[in-house]
Symmetry: C2
Subunit: 330 residues, 2 copies
Amino acid sequence: MKLNSKNLEVGLNKTYDVIVAGGGSGGLSAAIYLARYGLSCLVVEKGKGRSFWMQDLRNYLGLPPNTPGRELLRQGREHALSLGVDYLWGYVENVKDEGDLFAVKVKVGKVNSLYPVFRSKYLIAATGIIDHLPQLPDMQNVYDYAGYSLHVCMICDGYEMRDQKAVLIVGSEAQINTAFVLNWFTPYISVLTHGLCSVGPEMRQKLAEHGYPLYESPIRRFLGENHQMRGVELADGTYIEATTGLVAMGAKYHNDYLKGIPNLQWQGENLVTDEWCRTTHPRLFAVGDLKQGLNQVAIAVADGALAATAIWRDIRRASPARQWEERLRS
Amino acid sequence: MKLNSKNLEVGLNKTYDVIVAGGGSGGLSAAIYLARYGLSCLVVEKGKGRSFWMQDLRNYLGLPPNTPGRELLRQGREHALSLGVDYLWGYVENVKDEGDLFAVKVKVGKVNSLYPVFRSKYLIAATGIIDHLPQLPDMQNVYDYAGYSLHVCMICDGYEMRDQKAVLIVGSEAQINTAFVLNWFTPYISVLTHGLCSVGPEMRQKLAEHGYPLYESPIRRFLGENHQMRGVELADGTYIEATTGLVAMGAKYHNDYLKGIPNLQWQGENLVTDEWCRTTHPRLFAVGDLKQGLNQVAIAVADGALAATAIWRDIRRASPARQWEERLRS
């Protein structure tokens, strides 16, 4: 059922089998599997994650390629609720391992916030990432194009950029290397640092050898209409013609709430997991973009199935066998 | 485009980047990803695989839980065709590794069959499995219930069986152990060997301790109406009340065409793969039920994405960088 600030006691009076932090594609898939295994679960979703921003999910089997990410999430949320999953809009602030249980502190409501602490045997971390976008004084100008003709994921949208004039927007010199992968899809690449980093002579040489111009002035605004980019205007007045773009400025990982758990193995900001998405903590799983691997809806959905199945196996094996009681009594 | 016996030369005149053997959920997902990476691919589908038989796909994020498996396949086929994938109804008879290329011999048409040989750099084996069903003189009686109230996958459908009287139909003594997992969902389990195997004293003892009766007479027929089982009648006249059932008789693996490839590592009938679904042959990938792991649509879909991505990386890294030619000439 849907929880909110008025009925939090529904969840506070339970010990959940699993709390799923994050209601994106990985978290919702996990919740659906958990519910079908007969396990109790609470999904805590802060809203507006990476898949929410996806204007078109073009590479997920079974959905027409113009399906918005938020439609996937809506369908998944309904599906999970129909199976008895508890669902709460909130922000996971902190997780403590109390030995047998996790204590999960959630911030509910942006004003007059409540801070309930829910408890579960297992935790699935499915809070994902959010891509950094270039910061402009008028962010609406960025949102007008981001997810439409200005992309954040080459695996997802390289196909949409093929053989077009493209800007590659980076925040560090290392991120410029994305150009030498993006050129599989298009060789007409202009690299924009948005004034955020300096670029050394070796990288300048490499760009020159490929014919990719480098622009180091900050972006003033994106130009175009109806979400379709036509070009980019820089602070120094330069105009760059481009009908598409890729933002490769890294991402924020929503994993602060896990930083207090001892002995978790990290690789950078990613959690290291086994083939069942189990972290180095036996009752803590990570699915989707938080773990190492491809950041794709299809992967997150499979991760959710794997984590839920591993948890079910643990709990099932620790439970007494169910016998046909009447038959044994007769 | 759709290939058929009339236009096979379209495919015979190409060297495909990838041939995908099997157009189920793993194969179609791979094809969609491959096409979006700009790689050429041919999907060969024999029809009527495991997901085709699925009456309801109840655990796949994004689709309503009453979506038939064949609807997923139809949507995926259209999606792949819209991206320029070649698609052929046929049966992969044989694969030969010619060194740089695979030669894939396909049987097309059930009468006056043709046997074209297509060539590709990479092969994705996505031909899956098909569950063994109990053989009755009237197989229509089995099909009336299979996929509705008589299930073949506990992970998928254990939830649908919960706390119901269930028959577990096995073909070997070892398969009886499924009862001690199925009892997570329901303890009212009758075990039916359909006369196919003998059962030793230890297993008899274990079943008795759980209160699960064992019936060793062959099944005569399933009883019920509108796909809803009511019970099972055995050859010896016994009537067993049951509103659901699980068939755990193993599966046929569609992998004969791979048996001539040297140095492939098998675990039983499953191909051993790395985390990108690559087998021990560097240009041969296995996705979905053919490889080790959970037999789930969500897993197969992710597998397809992984295999396609690994192949794209191989091909991209072996290709010359695309330069902005005009800019270099000017």
